[in-house]
């Protein structure tokens, strides 16, 4: 089976065609919808290129907080493990177990949020992120 152009390239080209050839002729509600589609394609494209690395980076942040054994116990499916780890952390924060805010937790919260922003809101990153 031919592999090229690959999924990322096709999504990229579809997004360009939408923005350069279709959207300029639209107005009102349909223009708004076209821009939403372009935005969704951009996020999907970033997922394809950095999704695996992002999940690995978030797992590493949790390892610093909970230790490698706890992370190994969470299983091989990274997405499922991250959901479980985030649920646990959310509950513990609410219960006051992390009020001292140790450095690994501070790092996890800010880096995790930054990873998510890079995926969904690069404009926000460029304008508001205090560390950039």
């Amino acid at each position: 089976m031919r592999q090229r152009p690959d999924a990322a390239n096709l999504i990229d080209m579809a997004r360009r065609a939408l923005l350069e050839e279709i959207a300029p002729d639209l107005s009102g509600r349909s223009r708004y919808a076209a821009l939403m589609v372009a935005n969704a394609l951009a996020i999907a494209l970033r997922d394809l290129s950095t999704g695996d690395a992002d999940r690995a980076a978030e797992i590493a942040l949790f390892e610093d907080l909970y230790g490698t054994d706890a992370i190994a116990a969470a299983g091989d499916d990274r997405a499922a493990a991250l959901l479980a780890l985030n649920r646990r952390l959310a509950r513990e924060i609410r219960d006051g177990r992390w009020d001292a805010m140790p450095a690994p937790l501070r790092r996890l919260l800010s880096e995790q949020t930054r990873l998510r922003l890079a995926r969904t809101s690069p404009k926000y990153m460029a304008r508001y992120d205090p560390d950039r």
């Binding site: 959901l83 985030n86 959310a90 009020d99 919260l109 930054r114």
Partner: protein, 351 residues
């Protein structure tokens, strides 16, 4: 009717409405010339009416808005009759609102409760307002008007018999809000450690005492109309509640409601100080600036939780929608607003 099937009240509903309006207006007849559904409003529907009234106090050509529940609406905010009472109380306090005219508190006319208010002209859309060059040059004047409007809303304080449907919170307002947002988070499938951290911080740093006032609870760019540089009406009262006045002030200034016009921190329209000073001159009470920063964290959390809820409507399969999906994906922005806001407050306290 411009939208077929938009109401389930049958072909003669316009006649029933016209007859009811004539009675409510003390008129001989009311002829509905045009009726069109206004855009927006997933929970409520607004219909713009052009009518010709014969006889009575409203005789002549009139432009009204009929506001009712959307057919699939869920009872999460105030009812239309309660909203009508709020508009009356606000108008009596000198707030610029669409004048409330007639309340229909029976379902026998349209199958739903509704009320009629005067149509107010002007632009409400936030994106349009913050990009209007005329507003950019007179933004401090406009936020001054809005600051005075907000102070007049806050001049309404409990107890009020006419507003008895608004529960008086048993907890301090901040703690009541925290409990509500946690309850919302518990119904969602996506956890947010960042929003939980912000809520815990808000809990540990909650202001002890607050004097309760009537808060609009959605007072922001997008929910008022402007024409020729003047505020023509404060809209969308369905979230009004007895709360801490700083909550409304902070919500108005919260980043998201600047629609990208970040150099104008008060609603993307004007400067914070112009907004605060106008509020202070009307309220004869200083704005506690250190508390506004606290309530802006609350604003980020509130909008983050709402965005998560909208994303969940898509994720759960209840209402597959690209727009809802993308709203849910904005949550990290509110998470970062909250985390960086807390870091700023802590750095200032430690400095």
């Amino acid at each position: 009717m411009t939208e077929a099937g938009a109401t389930a009240t049958g072909p003669s509903w316009q006649e029933a409405l016209a007859t009811w309006l004539a009675g409510a207006a003390g008129a001989r007849t009311v002829a509905i010339e045009t009726i069109e559904k206004l855009a927006g409003g997933a929970i409520q529907e607004n219909w713009r009416l052009a009518v010709r009234v014969s006889g009575g106090d409203h005789a002549g050509q009139q432009h009204w808005v009929l506001r009712t529940d959307a057919p699939s609406s869920v009872a999460t905010s105030l009812s239309r009759p309660q909203e009508f009472d709020l508009l009356r109380a606000a108008a009596a306090a000198g707030v610029t609102v669409p004048e409330p005219l007639f309340l229909c508190d029976t379902e026998s006319v349209l199958g739903r409760l509704f009320y009629v208010m005067r149509y107010v002209p002007g632009v409400a859309e936030g994106h349009r307002l913050v990009r209007d060059p005329a507003i950019a040059s007179a933004g401090d004047d406009l936020v001054g008007q809005l600051g005075r409007e907000l102070a007049r809303i806050h001049s309404i304080v409990p107890p009020r018999e006419d507003l008895g449907f608004l529960p008086v919170p048993e907890l301090p307002p901040a703690l009541a809000r925290i409990a509500t947002y946690r309850r919302y988070l518990d119904d969602l499938s996506e956890p947010s450690p960042a929003l939980e951290r912000a809520l815990r911080w808000l809990e540990l740093n909650a202001p002890r005492a607050a004097h309760l006032v009537l808060c609009h609870s959605d007072f922001r760019t997008g929910n008022y109309k402007v024409e020729n540089g003047r505020v023509t009406g404060i809209l969308d009262w369905e979230f009004a509640a007895w709360s801490d006045p700083n909550e409304d002030i902070a919500w108005f200034c919260y980043r998201y409601w600047r629609f990208g016009a970040d150099d104008r921190e008060a609603g993307g329209i004007g400067s914070r100080e112009a907004f605060y000073r106008a509020y202070e001159s009307e309220a004869a009470r200083p704005v506690a600036r250190e508390h506004i920063a606290y309530w802006e964290i609350m604003a980020a959390v509130r909008w983050g939780v709402i965005a998560l809820q909208q994303g969940e409507r898509h994720l759960s399969g209840a209402e597959p929608s690209l727009e809802l999906a993308l709203t849910g994906l904005q949550v990290p922005e509110m998470e970062m607003d909250a985390l960086s806001g807390i870091a700023r407050i802590e750095a200032e306290a430690g400095a």
